[in-house]
């Protein structure tokens, strides 16, 4: 079953609370009982994950990262979107529905 996980740039995303999260040598490692799997993030992945402790608009997240890394915003937005889609598919990150009070960030 294909799940549509495309995310709009004005979508607000946040860490899902289901996985158990640990940090080993500055890298995030997760156990998701729901997914029945372990996950590990690399350095940049860990940085993005940590930025999603609070709900954040995708466009704001990408703007901040492109400033930090002096990277082209379009390329970076495409890469970060793909990464977040992978996390959403696995239930590690969720999109906050527009009506949700926490979406007003």
């Amino acid at each position: 079953m294909a799940v549509d996980v495309s995310i709009a740039s004005d979508a607000v995303v946040v860490q899902d609370s289901e996985p158990v999260v640990a940090t080993v040598d500055d890298e995030v490692v997760m156990l998701s009982a729901r997914a029945g799997a372990y996950f590990g993030l690399n350095g940049v992945g860990t940085e993005i994950w940590n930025m999603l402790r609070e709900p954040r608009r995708l466009s704001d997240l990408c703007r901040e990262l492109s400033q930090r890394y002096e990277a082209d915003i379009d390329t970076l937005t495409r890469d970060v979107t793909l990464f977040l889609q992978a996390l959403i598919e696995r239930g590690l990150v969720r999109v906050v529905p527009p009506g949700d009070p926490s979406a007003r960030s």
């Binding site: 640990a22 040598d25 156990l31 590990g40």
Partner: protein, 302 residues
């Protein structure tokens, strides 16, 4: 009559003698950590798990081993064994000291690794790796070629002291070796006890080279066969890769759901990954080169 033993840092009181372990020199005061009894199993947990031979529910698990019997493991404390009528007692004990004790340690929230371990200069060094990578053989060669003592073979139980420091607990007092590994050490198989599951594997008793107290675990080597690596190329592992290696090389990792320890085990193994140095030890598979591998390890530890 009760027989008292020390194993994995726990005091075990048994109704039956367990000759694979060393008797405790004096009786334990207070309650033993583990009580082992023989007898018919009560109606136990019925919920089947993903594993056809494990039933588990509410802190209890039953292992069913054809040819040996049924093993009820409760609350990280009680072992009740109902052997099959014609089962060989040493075959029954094989699963007491292996799978059942491993499952009990998981129930207690300890971290059992599928590892062999030695103590060298006050530090514990563990060897993990897939079946056949030579964990036991390398540990035995460390005893032969370095001033090392044996901590554990096959199952290494790790606990944490109050300061969060990982401790390697002493396990069973012998090393299981293949016949060719024994001859590389200059030992014959005469008088050694054969290992039940693998007819050509033998228990080498090492009573004179046993570490009898826990030691801080500082290094875990993940053994990896590599024809181009010579006798020992050591590469550091970190982060998620190190944590994944410790999770994958957990003893009886397949029991974690049956023991409802998946989550606590994840916390313990990631904590361990942050506290020890995990390294890949690549080496060419070659028994005659093992002294050089031991030398590479000793150098690496300096």
């Amino acid at each position: 009559m009760q027989f008292f033993y020390d194993v994995h840092g726990l005091v075990l009181a048994s109704e039956v003698p367990l000759p694979e372990l060393e008797l405790r020199q004096r009786e334990a005061t207070g309650e033993p950590d583990i009580r082992l009894a023989m007898g018919p199993l009560p109606v136990g947990p019925r919920r089947t798990t993903d594993l056809p031979y494990v039933h588990a529910q509410n802190g209890q698990a039953v292992l069913k081993i054809p040819g040996a019997g049924r093993y009820l493991i409760s609350g990280g404390r009680d072992l009740l064994i109902e052997p099959e009528a014609d089962a060989d007692p040493s075959y029954v004990r094989l699963f007491i000291l292996g799978s059942a004790l491993g499952l009990l340690c998981q129930q207690r929230g300890l971290l059992p690794l599928h590892a062999s371990a030695i103590e060298l200069a006050g530090q514990a060094i563990a060897f993990v790796g897939d079946q056949g990578q030579g964990k036991s053989t390398l540990a035995a060669h460390c005893l032969a070629y370095a001033p090392a003592r044996l901590l554990a073979d096959d199952t290494l139980v790790v606990s944490f002291d109050p300061g969060g420091r990982p401790l390697a607990q002493p396990g069973l007092p012998s090393v299981k070796l293949w016949r060719d590994a024994l001859s590389a050490l200059g030992r014959s198989t005469d008088g050694l006890r054969p290992d039940w599951l693998r007819a050509d594997k033998f228990h080498l008793p090492v009573a004179d080279r046993l570490a009898r107290a826990a030691a801080p675990l500082t290094r875990v080597y993940v053994l990896h066969e590599d024809a181009d690596a010579g006798q020992g190329r050591i590469e550091s592992m970190a982060g998620a890769v190190a944590a994944a290696a410790l999770i994958a090389h957990t003893y009886r990792v397949e029991y974690l759901d049956a023991t409802e320890q998946r989550r606590d085990h994840f916390v313990a193994s990631t904590r361990l990954a942050g506290r020890v140095s995990v390294c890949r030890l690549k080496r060419r598979r070659d028994l005659t080169g093992l002294p050089a591998t031991v030398a590479a390890i000793v150098t690496d530890l300096r």
